[in-house]
Symmetry: C2
Subunit: 118 residues, 2 copies
């Protein structure tokens, strides 16, 4: 069943009928990818981890201790951060050391903080 209210109608207002800039959307996939990237920053736990890793390379255990969280929860979030290439890591014996992947991360964290504090 079709609900007419859901079908966008051509707007009759000047903003739409008059001459205006022709806007072009990019392929859907690009928005999905980009949204997935930002989504990673959209959780307090992951932000804490990212801020911490910006100051120092850390093992899972240290992060868990710092955040008062289970190693499991932290490991899940680190896996998520890894998948989205926000962090990288190296293994040394039993221990896995994590660090920020590149410079965009800090830049985005700073821009967000600026926005909040204004």
């Amino acid at each position: 069943m079709i609900n007419m209210a859901d079908i966008p109608t051509k707007c009759t207002e000047a903003c739409c009928t008059g001459p205006r800039v022709e806007l072009q959307l990019r392929p859907e996939e690009e928005y999905i990818q980009l949204a997935a990237f930002y989504k990673v920053f959209g959780d307090p736990t992951r932000l804490k981890i990212l801020w911490a890793l910006d100051e120092s390379e850390l093992c899972v255990c240290a992060i868990a201790e710092l955040l008062s969280m289970s190693k499991s929860a932290v490991s899940h979030q680190l896996a998520y951060l890894r998948q989205n290439r926000l962090v990288s890591f190296r293994r040394e014996g039993k221990t896995a050391y994590y660090r920020l992947a590149d410079d965009h991360i800090k830049m985005i964290l700073d821009a967000g903080t600026d926005h909040i504090n204004e």
Copy 2:
């Protein structure tokens, strides 16, 4: 019932027992606020709206048409964007014109795009 695996134990590895940088977390509220801000970018629909508004001020109808979405869905997202101060708007008769709130928005969009395209 307490699950011991959930209580972070003091790590016995060198990374934790040795001398290391003293990390200090900020108040929980700051992370929550910041996460809420980034979360706004974490949806393809909202990204499309933001990119579109970066090019031109637009009414709800025009956005709905551009994205092939219902005015309701767009209006919900715009309300969300407004609450998080990513867009502002002015009324002119029946029509509501939306635009980006400030410059951080475009900066963050660009930084994200850079990260994806590398």
